[in-house]
């Protein structure tokens, strides 16, 4: 069923009883051309682009839980393309271009809101670094704007501009096209669009092992039986190491927990996505009015999907250093998600040493914004058995070759990215 104003009108006349399910509850078939392990945003986008761009429609997406129940529903929904290191800049900009047309492309409103992302600068030196970033972006045809302190104050009057501010605001770099999207809508939209092209989306189906023949992958063993496929793509986020280990692949990855927070809803206050320049902190306001924000990793290996109080305290302190007016807001909830942190802070989209097995992971905590381009390039990699120009640098063996993409410049220490 195509969603449209006419359809809404028609369904309204019928008391909204005629809406059909967004995607079929598919039963697993005996075999597929391609199996995607992981029904998060990246896995679903991959299946969608396999069908749309490469005509491969005999595809199954196997999801252990339910669609929208993993990290695609746990992030802080920020979309931007202001990266500076070679490889990252064009990849994330292509993702941004896909975001800009995504609701029409999927016939599903992903509520992409280009409200702009503001990264504050707190010293003259940091403003120089921001200027360098802006120039790098402009050289790639990406719009970037530098604001001075007065302009920041005009646009974001609620921050601390007093003499007491711990980190005085000198200015900011702004990407106006950046913003937020409704995260579960992205999962649902890709699931529905992939399903309409013939992809089977199979929920409650955990992949437990792989089947090989002469070193080549021939299928997967799941909680719902064996499913054959010559090509299997992994997109399992925080559990990348666990799943890849089943295929005998070691990864340059550690799993860490990242917390996110939302306050009680308030009237519109934070109009942009705002990043603090002096500490790791980012905030935006959801359409329901809650302030959504996050900070650093807890810092130790974890699969527990729950964080610890020192980070809660630290993030709250940072929030108040930035905007003392947040001080009386009550925290509505906070949660933890498991991030697969690579050794250089950049993702991996590549073939693997096992023939027929492909890997997409290591998104650290920047995976949400990459969803469309990740699916686009992973589908290309699987369909052509070779990477797309945009993900050629996200090779699995770049660490062995010394071609790390270390945007933060912190070295092979996963909890520092």
């Amino acid at each position: 069923m195509k969603y449209s104003a006419w359809q809404l009108f028609r369904q309204a006349l019928g008391g909204h009883r005629g809406w059909t399910e967004a995607w079929r509850k598919a039963e697993p078939k005996a075999g597929y051309d391609v199996i995607i392990v992981g029904g998060g945003g990246h896995g679903l986008a991959t299946a969608y682009y396999l069908a749309r761009n490469h005509g491969i429609t005999n595809v199954a997406v196997l999801e252990r839980g339910w669609i929208g129940g993993g990290n695609v529903g746990r992030n802080t929904t920020i979309v931007r393309s202001n990266y500076m290191i070679g490889g990252n800049t064009p990849f994330y900009e292509w993702s941004m271009k896909l975001w800009e047309g995504l609701s029409h492309e999927l016939n599903f409103n992903v509520m992409f809101s280009q409200r702009g992302q503001v990264i504050l600068g707190h010293s003259a030196d940091q403003m120089q670094a921001h200027l360098r970033r802006a120039n790098t972006m402009r050289a790639h045809g990406i719009e970037a704007e530098i604001l001075d302190r007065r302009a920041v104050q005009r646009e974001l009057p609620y921050l601390d501009y007093s003499q007491r501010a711990r980190f005085p605001i000198h200015g900011a770099i702004v990407q106006r096209r950046a913003g937020t999207a409704r995260h579960d809508a992205v999962a649902w939209g890709y699931a529905r669009a992939a399903d309409r092209l013939g992809v089977d989306i199979i929920e409650n189906c955990e992949v437990q092992d792989f089947a090989f023949e002469g070193g080549r992958i021939t299928g997967v063993e799941t909680s719902r039986g064996t499913i054959r496929a010559d090509r299997v793509g992994l997109a399992v986020a925080g559990h990348s190491s666990q799943v890849a280990q089943r295929a005998g692949i070691e990864l340059p990855i550690e799993s860490h927990v990242l917390q996110a927070f939302v306050t009680e809803p308030i009237k519109p206050l934070v109009d942009h996505v705002v990043a603090f320049g002096a500490e790791h902190f980012y905030i935006s306001q959801s359409d329901k009015g809650g302030l959504v924000f996050g900070g650093d990793l807890d810092g130790y290996n974890s699969y527990a999907q729950r964080g610890n109080l020192p980070i809660v305290e630290r993030v709250a302190e940072i929030a108040l250093a930035l905007a003392p007016c947040f001080s009386r807001l009550r925290l509505l909830r906070h949660w933890g998600g498991v991030m697969d942190m690579t050794m250089d802070g950049s993702p991996i989209i590549d073939r693997t040493p096992v023939e027929g097995l492909y890997f997409n992971g290591g998104w650290c905590y920047g995976g949400f914004k990459a969803t469309p381009a990740s699916g686009w390039t992973f589908a290309h990699t699987i369909a052509n058995e070779a990477p797309h120009a945009l993900n050629a640098c996200y090779a699995l063996d770049r660490f062995r070759q010394g071609h790390q993409i270390d945007e933060a410049g912190t070295g092979p220490v996963p909890n520092h990215h």
Partner: protein
């Protein structure tokens, strides 16, 4: 809050400690010339879901390096010892 029983200072909040990563990786000798072994030492991690031996430094206490065995699925701490015993003294390269 994790509570780590430092062998020198007693039970302390983990906020007093700094995390040092996987303690099971072994640094090759400085004159070791296998690129593969150095690659594995610097980049590859087992990343287990379950028991994990890891370094923590008691930076806001006695400053000792410790080896903590902890469950990465439950955060339960299973054992703590001084890292001094497990480390070879540095050799001149």
């Amino acid at each position: 809050m994790l509570r780590i029983r430092c062998p020198f200072c007693g039970d302390r909040d983990h906020a007093e400690f700094s995390y040092g990563g996987d303690a099971s990786v072994e640094r090759p000798p400085l004159d070791h010339d296998s690129r593969e072994d150095w690659y594995r030492y610097v980049f590859v991690r087992a990343n287990p879901k379950g028991r994990h031996r890891e370094y923590w430094q008691h930076v806001h206490g006695c400053r000792s390096w410790l080896v903590v065995e902890r469950d990465t699925g439950s955060h339960a701490i299973l054992g703590v010892e001084s890292a001094a015993g497990s480390l070879e003294p540095a050799r001149d390269g």
